[in-house]
């Protein structure tokens, strides 16, 4: 599995954990998790994928990444 497929997979896996907490908790939960644990090059790659349409990203994850990208101008 190569990037960005692997990153999309990982992000969706995180999304899956938060799904049962409902949308309002899930979106910030996912964003916070990726912010805290992903290295900048991983963040850049997933943001680039998001900009390119974000194929394969679950809705909550897509929303989380969109908000995270805006809050991390330095990385993107």
């Amino acid at each position: 599995m190569s990037s960005p497929d692997r990153l999309v997979y990982m992000a969706n896996q995180i999304g899956m954990f938060f799904r049962s907490q409902g949308h309002d908790k899930a979106v910030p939960g996912i964003a916070d998790h990726i912010k805290k644990f992903w290295d900048p090059r991983m963040k850049r790659a997933i943001f680039a994928h998001l900009d390119a349409g974000g194929a394969g990203l679950e809705p909550n994850v897509r929303e989380a990444l969109t908000s995270l990208k805006q809050s991390l101008p330095a990385v993107s």
């Binding site: 599995m1 190569s2 990037s3 692997r6 899956m16 954990f17 799904r19 290295d39 991983m42």
Partner: protein, 961 residues
């Protein structure tokens, strides 16, 4: 330095708080109620002669040597079996006692060889001591009568064979059993029962025919004996003796140190002669092990001077080249130039490192400091990534700290122990022995494991076993919660006081849904709902409930979720914050707890503080005099991905064999091959070194000072007993490498490193070598609030404030069985081997486990035409390997199991890239596989072996001019 002689009080310590005062030999003595007269006398400094008594086991009263006289009582009672009472007046030495004791010793010696000068126990023999103590000068009975001593009947030149004589049993690689020297005190039998809990030994026969018998008169190696050494330690004569003592002689000095094997962290006395280890003896004051040990720590230290150890630094330009031995300076400048070159070419973040969970806290701290300070990034990770990283995430989310909650002593107050995905009898044997002791006193045991482990069914232990399908932990633990909530077994008072009530209510509503019931989930978990309900009731209502778990919990795509589910369970039942309860991760390696504490994770500085925290960074920046990168670095699996992608090109690996231990070996090979500089710092040319450009020889735990932190957060000293064979301790190597890279770290002793750790880490502020010397060990947090450390966490409240319940939805792993791969492979460990086996494979422990075997259920084996011992091909979506089959019903139909101790098996060729959602901890425990008969090693194994042999070549040194 001298030999540390621990006092043997003869009988175990009484825990009573009621004190009793009596008079012994004219001295008033006050001791706890329940203490024996023998122990009370020893407390007062009077040693009563004894042979069958020792304080590791209960009194037995068979040798009749410890007799005393008590005023107002008739006869001469044995002091070991007579408890103290207020006002007793005891005399330990009278004319009558002297005569009786001399008579007893005379009888013993009349059936004992008199080869004291050439005996292995010479200088360390209690029988000899007692003969001296009672003043034995003559044996009137002679030696001609019936005896166990001589092979042939004495006195006749062509004497016929002596039926009572038995030859020496030398089958065990580490100790001998010489029946001719046995006095049948049964200390060994009782040690095996009471301390180890294996019940391998017994006394067969009666009267003069009584013999110590391993199993049914088998050899030691052929019996159930697990070679823990407790019997050898208990033996008062030369009957059971370490082979190393027989070969070398008695030690002359000893040093207390900490075992470098598993996370139990047993304290040992390294008994020495000069710089040679004579034997390792478990230390009774060790608070983790309380004088017990297992075969690894006690005996398997021979790897430290194994011929394959590499003692000189080596370098090479390409991994196809043979190694060139060079000076340390050449190796450091070669490595530094490569690493700095990579950074220049690919950027600052293109290198990183892996700290060792086998090295000391101080060494680990230095490696992460070098990476953060010297490399200028946070690309540091450690072995915990692939084992307990989900524990870190799960417990810090729910409780506020990743710390295991108890000390090992806590098990003595446990009423219900729940073991999930762990096999302490194999992987944490000394803890298992302590647990079994409690189980024999009546505590209950629940085991949640796909396999019927040694813990499920062992002498006097019968667990409630929930044999779940691999990958369904979350469903099972959530079903336990379902029963607890829907049957009204929640400890509401605890939850209301200690936890967030709203979060609890959300969680309770979630788990109470019918879809989480044991009946609804049975179809996927395979667990009988009745057994599951019973387990939930027993845990919730059986008194102090303690959960112990291992990698069977964490190494899943839902590893972190299961840890959270476990924490939920403990909170809901109020099993947190006092002795006897808790959530206890059983850590794999000796210092994996410490390596996590020391900031080995890419997102955390020492003390688990996130790298993005400015205030924390400021502290480190001020002391280290560098600017730190606020962004988290790469985790191990991310490093591999980045290497293949071309953005991560150099790595410094200290004491860790990532190629053998990490999943999907082909992927790791591809990643390592892509890197331009791999620096391996290790004792041996391990598997990773096959892809390395620099090899820095490491030092063993016997060759350096430092500290290890065990699974109960206990910080213990590692003490140097010999000069590093490679010339430098590991911490010195890291300092020199850093210096070559232009990053100065100045320390003259590891104690100075610990002082820096204490200055920077709030949970360590009270830790110093002086305090460790004074107290023996401390459990962090150790600071102003807890100057002597913290045995039990979360007393009175959680570290995070209110305990946090989090819902845990079961999500099936994407690693699925199907027509091509219908079986599930899960992996584990075995008692005699450790981790990737780099150490234990280089000891005589291989007699117990010379190869990894595949356990398969008879039903699955028959379907495939596989017989016991046959070679089978084990194939997954990631790769294939071959190994031999062992047919057993320990595994359920549909599940197969193997260990990963041998590189020629390469179990990780099979495991996949799937990993925990939160931490990327690999999913070792679930792989869909197919099995078919095979003729021998696979092409991959042959090619791998060829590459390894090629890569390990060392160029001959050039002849001097």
């Amino acid at each position: 330095m001298s030999l540390i002689e621990e006092i043997d009080y003869g009988t175990p310590r009484s825990k009573s708080e009621t004190m009793v005062t009596l008079t012994i030999d004219g001295n008033e003595v006050t001791v706890p109620e329940g203490t024996s007269i023998m122990r009370a006398a020893m407390d007062a400094g009077h040693q009563i002669p004894k042979l069958c008594a020792t304080d590791m086991v209960d009194a037995y009263g068979s040798c009749r040597l410890c007799l005393v006289e008590i005023e107002g009582r008739a006869g001469t009672p044995a002091s070991c079996t007579t408890p103290v009472m207020n006002g007793l007046v005891v005399r330990t030495q009278t004319e009558r006692l002297k005569k009786l004791r001399k008579g007893v010793m005379e009888l013993y010696i009349s059936d004992h060889p008199l080869d004291c000068l050439t005996c292995g126990a010479n200088g360390d023999c209690e029988l000899q001591d007692m003969a001296g103590a009672v003043g034995l000068r003559d044996v009137r009975y002679g030696y001609e009568g019936e005896n166990h001593v001589f092979a042939k009947t004495p006195g006749k030149t062509d004497g016929c064979a002596n039926d009572h004589w038995m030859p020496k049993d030398e089958s065990n690689p580490y100790f001998t059993y010489d029946p001719s020297k046995c006095i049948v005190c049964s200390r060994c039998v009782r040690a095996c029962e009471e301390v180890q809990g294996t019940f391998a030994l017994t006394i067969s026969g009666r009267g003069f025919d009584s013999r110590v018998s391993p199993g049914m008169s088998e050899s030691f190696l052929g019996s159930e004996c697990v070679s823990c050494g407790a019997c050898v330690q208990a033996c008062p004569t030369a009957t059971l003796t370490e082979k190393s003592v027989i070969e070398i002689g008695q030690p002359e000095h000893s040093v207390v140190t900490t075992c470098a094997y598993c996370g139990v962290g047993c304290a040992f006395k390294a008994e020495m002669r000069g710089e040679e280890v004579v034997r390792m003896v478990p230390y009774k004051d060790g608070k983790a092990n309380r004088g017990h040990s297992c075969v690894k720590g006690r005996f398997a230290w021979g790897y430290t001077n194994h011929k394959e150890r590499i003692l000189k630094p080596m370098i090479r330009e390409r991994i196809e080249d043979p190694w060139q031995e060079v000076s340390w300076d050449e190796a450091f400048s070669f490595a530094a130039a490569k690493m700095r070159g990579i950074q220049k070419k690919y950027g600052r973040d293109a290198i990183g490192g892996i700290t060792s969970s086998r090295c000391t806290n101080e060494e680990t701290y230095l490696v992460q400091k070098l990476i953060r300070g010297g490399f200028g990034n946070n690309n540091v990770d450690t072995c915990a990534r692939v084992c307990h990283s989900p524990t870190g995430y799960g417990l810090s989310q729910t409780f506020g700290t990743s710390a295991g909650t108890q000390d090992f002593d806590s098990v003595e107050e446990t009423d219900v122990a729940v073991i999930i995905g762990a096999n302490p009898a194999s992987a944490h044997p000394v803890f298992a022995s302590r647990l079994k002791k409690r189980l024999r006193q009546g505590a209950k045991l629940i085991v949640i494991d796909p396999r019927r482990t040694e813990m499920v069914d062992s002498p006097h232990v019968k667990a409630l076993h929930l044999p779940l399908m691999p990958g369904t932990n979350v469903a099972v633990v959530t079903a336990l919660a379902h029963v607890i909530v829907t049957e009204g077994l929640v400890n509401e008072a605890f939850v209301r006081e200690r936890c967030d009530w709203i979060e609890f209510e959300e969680w309770a509503a979630f788990v109470a849904q019918p879809k989480h019931s044991p009946e609804a989930t049975a179809i996927l978990t395979g667990v009988d709902p009745k057994v599951l309900r019973e387990a939930a009731r027993v845990y919730a209502t059986g008194g102090n409930g303690a959960i112990y778990y291992g990698l069977g919990v964490t190494e899943h795509s839902q590893g972190s979720t299961t840890v959270i589910a476990i924490a939920n369970l403990a909170m809901a039942t109020g099993n947190i914050g006092r002795p006897g309860v808790g959530v206890n991760p059983l850590r794999g390696q000796n210092n994996v707890q410490g390596s996590c504490d020391m900031g080995s994770f890419p997102h955390e500085l020492p003390g688990y503080r996130h790298i993005s925290g400015e205030a924390v960074r400021d502290q480190f920046e001020a002391l280290w005099n560098v600017k730190l990168n606020p962004e988290p670095g790469l985790r191990i699996p991310n490093m591999f991905d980045a290497a293949i992608e071309g953005t991560f090109m150099g790595i410094y690996v200290q004491g860790e064999d990532i190629l053998q231990s990490d999943p999907n070996t082909k992927h790791v090979v591809a990643a390592l091959s892509a890197m331009e500089c791999v620096i391996v710092h290790d004792l041996f040319l391990n598997e990773t070194a096959n892809y390395a450009h620099v090899f820095l020889p490491g030092s063993s735990f016997l060759e350096k000072d430092g500290t290890f932190t065990n699974a109960e957060r206990r910080i213990q000293r590692v003490r140097k007993v010999m000069t590093p064979k490679n010339g430098m301790a590991d911490w010195e190597v890291t300092i020199a490498l850093a210096k070559a890279m232009g990053f100065e770290m100045n320390y003259s002793h590891p104690s100075e490193i610990m002082d820096e750790i204490a200055a920077l880490t709030p949970t360590f502020t009270g830790v110093s070598y002086a305090k460790l010397d004074e107290l023996g060990s401390v459990q962090w947090p150790c600071n102003e609030k807890a100057p002597e450390g913290t045995p039990v966490m979360h007393i009175g409240g959680f570290v995070r404030g209110k305990g946090k319940f989090i819902v845990t939805e079961y999500v099936a792993t994407d690693e699925r069985t199907g027509p091509r791969f219908p079986l599930l492979l899960t992996t584990g460990r075995i008692l005699s081997q450790y981790n990737v086996g780099a150490q234990t494979r280089r000891t005589d422990n291989v007699v117990w486990h010379a190869e990894d075997r595949l356990e398969i259920h008879p039903h699955d084996a028959e379907l495939r035409g596989v017989r016991d011992g046959d070679w089978v091909r084990l194939q997954s979506r990631a790769g294939e390997t071959t190994l031999r089959a062992e047919i057993t019903d320990r595994v359920s139909p549909g599940v197969v199991y193997t260990t990963f101790h041998h590189p020629d098996t390469q179990a990780n060729v099979i495991t996949t890239d799937f990993s925990d959602w939160a931490t990327n901890c690999p999913e070792y425990k679930v792989t869909a596989v197919q099995i078919s008969p095979s003729n021998g090693p696979s092409d991959w194994q042959k090619a791998y072996d060829e590459q390894a042999r090629h890569s390990r070549r060392i160029a001959p040194a050039e002849a001097a001019e």
